[in-house]
């Protein structure tokens, strides 16, 4: 009974002074109409951009569709790019649900990849399955500790986690460059500093019949697990209460620190695992190339998904398709290479702006007498 009343408080919009009362909104409709509306608005703004850049927006959208979903061939392209985005998206989603906003996805991705490489190189004599498991665990641990550190700084020392995790990204990149040019450097990689390579026989494979590596499966499973954890367990309930109103959570005796740190650790572990997949399935070694920007796109994915693990799955595929269409926009429409970044940016801003609409549109606020 107590829990129900708490949940009511957490879902009422901030600044709303009305006395909590039993009322039913049209909740399903609101959470569909607003994001779809934001997407449509972004498409209109992007269409104007395309026209200014001298391209026909309808043709551009046709190309984006063709390059993203036009055939099984393009689907694989989109899925291949979506795989790391799912894991990187969770890196923001999980801590956010416990009330800590982090943007350290890129750094966690990098240190995950680095740690996994080190672990892989240390155990390359072992059978592939064992080496890959050790790599995954190490990568996850490294990414988890990385983000948990930022969350701990906020919880215990009052350092804003957005700032600290952002700065940790630069630290992660510096660490990567330092290690692949120093202690982990393969002297054979003269003009392209890289670590030693893990054995080619021990690489993470592709999903049979496709060119998509199994990182996609990892990502989808992680999203499902995160959903289960948040929506179907007591811990998830506690985390959401903590995220909704930390003071109330403390008042009812929830262990705030433990909840926040675990949520941040799990989020970071996802990004770290993505880094491991990037090394084990794509590069086979650590180099500056593993800093490919997946972490930053993961933040976009998390916000587009409104911090919901299940939505992360399809949003990742959607964003993956968007990124996959970058090439054809350059080749067929002569648009600048930054076009996809412009589209991503417009969508991101629109989605963020639309957040302020929740609870403000009268139609969705119509109170239906439930009593």
């Amino acid at each position: 009974m107590k829990a129900v009343s708490l949940a009511d408080i957490t879902v009422s919009p901030a600044g709303n002074k009305t006395v909590p009362q039993r009322r039913l909104r049209l909740p399903g409709l609101e959470s569909v109409v607003i994001p779809v509306g934001a997407l449509l608005a972004s498409m209109i703004v992007f269409a104007i951009f395309c026209m200014l850049a001298g391209a026909n927006p309808i043709g551009v959208y046709a190309s984006i569709y063709k390059a993203g979903f036009g055939s099984w061939y393009s689907w694989q392209n989109s899925l291949l790019r979506a795989a790391p985005l799912m894991l990187c998206g969770l890196c923001t989603v999980l801590p956010a649900r416990a009330g800590v906003l982090t943007v350290g996805n890129e750094g966690a991705f990098i240190v995950g990849g680095l740690a996994a490489t080190a672990a892989g190189l240390a155990t390359q004599a072992a059978p592939a399955a064992i080496m890959l498991t050790i790599m995954a665990v190490t990568g996850g641990l490294a990414g988890g500790v990385w983000i948990a550190f930022a969350a701990a700084l906020q919880h215990y020392r009052g350092v804003n986690a957005v700032i600290s995790s952002l700065l940790l990204n630069y630290l992660g990149l510096a660490l990567l460059l330092q290690l692949v040019e120093g202690p982990m450097h393969d002297p054979g990689s003269l003009n392209f500093p890289a670590s030693y390579a893990i054995p080619e026989t021990h690489h993470l494979g592709v999903i049979p019949g496709t060119r998509v590596h199994v990182g996609l499966v990892f990502g989808a499973i992680a999203c499902l697990l995160a959903w289960f954890l948040l929506e179907r367990t007591v811990w998830g309930m506690n985390a959401k209460i903590t995220g909704g109103n930390a003071r109330v959570a403390a008042l009812v005796g929830l262990p705030l620190g433990r909840i926040i740190l675990l949520a941040a650790f799990l989020g970071g572990a996802c990004a770290g695992l993505a880094g491991m997949v990037e090394v084990a399935a794509v590069h086979g070694r650590a180099s500056q190339s593993i800093n490919a920007g997946y972490g930053y796109v993961g933040i976009l994915v998390a916000f587009l998904a409104r911090q919901s693990p299940l939505r992360v799955i399809w949003v990742s595929v959607l964003v993956g398709a968007m990124v996959a269409s970058g090439g054809i926009l350059q080749r067929a429409h002569d648009l600048p290479d930054a076009t996809v970044a412009v589209l991503e940016g417009i969508v991101f801003v629109m989605i963020l702006a639309s957040e302020s609409l929740y609870g403000r549109i009268p139609l969705f606020q119509r109170v239906v007498d439930a009593g």
């Binding site: 003009n191 500056q288 490919a292 920007g293 970058g326 080749r331 290479d337």
Partner: protein
């Protein structure tokens, strides 16, 4: 309705047959054979006034060749993205040749896609090919730009008033160290007392850090700035703002410094790409060996060139550089002519010995010439 549709279709078919029949057929088959689709992929923006633009400029040089269709994609990350770009170019646009211009594209990406498409030819700039291991449809092209850096260094050595020069570099890797040393060798050949300070920024594109390094070098009294990063545009801009000289690298940066730009070492990929296009058009391939596995060149082969001189460079100096250029071309002047010591006192090229710039002994360069303040090892 149905009838009229039928007749219209028949009419169109008949008309096509009558008017263009054989000619159209010949043209179609001809263009399918003759049309050569080449896909260029750059790691960074194609207007960076640096490395990527030097390649985009090379691609642009193919405009005049009627049978070539040159596609391009820029800002392609060195991950699955570049694999997918190559596959798209081959799959969607029918590319028969891929030119992957960034070092990090080769292993494993170009190698992997090359195995998937054994009839497509892949050319990579600057990479290492392992004979017997890597796919046969991969070729490598690269240039030795040491002589041009030498000439730019000469210009700098003749123009400097303070005798102090500054070099902003990305990483202490052999390719970069060669440019630093050959620049210094050029400067020293005309101005034995010249000194140079090197600052490594740590990565290829770090405009803020490049600007900081350039400013601090200017504060320390250098009056010529140059660099080796993805694009030294910021370095040249800072030099101009501080009222000192600059020499460029990768691409012609003279527009950025109308007063202080001296010259620069720039790539000239257009000729290389034309040669590839012509050879492939003639039916040659890297698979059967009729196109060399490794195609490399120097100043003499027009793989690189000196940027046009800026207004500050006097006619006497221009003559001196032109003279040195001729001597480099005929071999009477060498960049790495012993005795050479590094800045720790170690002899790196013994007296009387000449190391030619194509010599693989230079591939692992790990030293900085005496007179250079900086560390060759991170």
């Amino acid at each position: 309705m149905k009838v009229s549709n039928h007749t219209r279709r028949q009419f169109l078919r008949a008309a096509a047959g009558v008017t263009t029949g054989a000619a159209a057929k010949a043209a179609a088959s001809g263009s399918a054979h003759d049309r050569l689709v080449m896909g260029f992929i750059y790691n960074g923006p194609k207007n960076d006034l640096g490395y990527n633009q030097s390649h985009a400029d090379g691609r642009f040089a193919l405009k005049g060749i009627p049978y070539v269709e040159a596609l391009e994609e820029s800002n392609v990350p060195e991950t699955v993205a570049v694999e997918e770009s190559m596959r798209d170019m081959i799959h969607q646009d029918g590319a028969r040749v891929i030119l992957a211009t960034s070092y990090g594209f080769l292993d494993p990406f170009v190698l992997r896609v090359a195995r998937e498409y054994p009839t497509v030819q892949f050319f990579h700039c600057g990479g290492g090919y392992r004979d017997g291991v890597d796919p046969k449809n991969v070729g490598i092209y690269f240039g030795f730009i040491d002589e041009v850096e030498f000439l730019a260094g000469m210009t700098a050595g003749l123009m400097t008033g303070t005798g102090h020069m500054g070099f902003v570099a990305a990483k202490p890797i052999p390719q970069v160290l060669r440019n630093i040393n050959s620049f210094m060798l050029g400067a020293r050949s005309v101005n034995p007392k010249v000194s140079m300070r090197v600052v490594f920024t740590g990565d290829w594109v770090l405009p803020v850090r490049e600007a900081e390094a350039s400013s601090s070098l200017a504060d320390q009294g250098v009056d010529v700035l140059t660099g080796h990063t993805g694009s030294p545009r910021v370095i040249v801009q800072i030099a101009e703002r501080r009222g000192i000289f600059a020499t460029g690298y990768q691409f012609n940066q003279s527009v950025l410094a109308p007063h202080g730009f001296l010259t620069g070492a720039e790539w000239a990929w257009g000729g290389v790409y034309k040669r590839y296009a012509e050879m492939i058009h003639d039916g040659k391939s890297v698979m059967n060996g009729s196109i060399p596995r490794r195609m490399s060149g120097t100043l003499k082969d027009d793989f690189c060139r000196l940027s046009p001189f800026g207004p500050a460079v006097t006619p006497a100096i221009r003559d001196a550089i032109a003279h040195a250029r001729v001597r480099l071309l005929d071999g009477s002047l060498q960049v790495y002519q012993g005795p050479l010591r590094d800045n720790t006192g170690r002899v790196v090229v013994p007296a009387g010995k000449v190391v030619k710039i194509e010599d693989p002994a230079l591939d692992g360069m790990d030293w900085l010439l005496e007179g250079i303040q900086g560390q060759a090892k991170g």
